[in-house]
């Protein structure tokens, strides 16, 4: 079972200024990430709950919703909000950074999913590491939602 507090601690250590701490954290992440991803993608919350047709595809109950980490990263990046006064290039660069930060994708998606469950309306959002993620499709762009703060 994934221990999220351990992963958070490792993630923080992987961005430490201390090179020895950073190296130890990155080694631990590198040797375990595949197992974490496999476990995370197969969690019931990340699998289809019913057999149905999504667009052109038929999906079965229990089938993982995301097939790989890049697939998950791509989904997560889809919810990333462009900041005010942020240029298109800067936004694309930020999106790329998000998608290549592998453990970050796992942690952020986990938070995003929890926030989605806790949202009051479709225009609510969550902020993770300076990035704003929408929690649902908001058809009325003028409506301003509330930030969901996770415990």
């Amino acid at each position: 079972m994934i221990d999220w507090s351990e992963l958070e601690e490792l993630y923080a250590a992987s961005r430490s200024d201390n090179a020895a701490v950073r190296t130890a954290a990155l080694q631990a992440i590198e040797s375990n990430l595949d197992a974490w991803v496999a476990e995370y993608l197969s969690l019931p919350a990340n699998c289809y709950q019913e057999t149905k047709t999504v667009g052109l595809y038929k999906v079965a109950t229990g089938q993982p919703r995301w097939t790989s980490l890049p697939d998950l990263a791509n989904y997560l990046a889809g919810w990333l909000e462009q900041n005010e006064n942020e240029g298109r290039e800067a936004f694309f660069a930020r999106t790329n950074r998000l998608q290549t930060d592998r453990l970050g994708v796992l942690l952020t998606h986990h938070k995003h999913q929890k926030a989605r469950d806790a949202r009051q309306c479709d225009s609510d959002f969550i902020r993770v590491d300076g990035n704003t993620f929408l929690l649902s499709v908001c058809w009325d762009g003028s409506q301003t939602g509330n930030e969901v703060i996770l415990a």
Partner: protein, 73 residues
């Protein structure tokens, strides 16, 4: 032939050794060797279940905490 699990291979081997040991036509040396091998096999511990991954993370976190504490002193 497909590879059998370790426990099954050990049981087969022990049965073979038992038949040598209890074979009245076998020499004393052969029977003693079979008995010694059986004892050796039975005394071997079953390999512990691998929990390398989680232990690695815990070890790494312990190491990281020590490094951080060392750096803060």
């Amino acid at each position: 032939m497909s590879r059998q699990p370790r426990s099954k291979r050990v049981v087969n081997l022990l049965n073979a050794l038992e038949s040598i040991y209890s074979n009245p036509d076998a020499s004393i040396a052969e029977r003693l060797e079979a008995a010694a091998l059986s004892a050796k096999l039975l005394s071997k511990k079953k390999p512990a279940k691998r929990q390398v991954k989680s232990r690695n993370v815990k070890n790494a976190l312990e190491q990281i905490r020590q490094l951080q504490n060392g750096g803060n002193k």
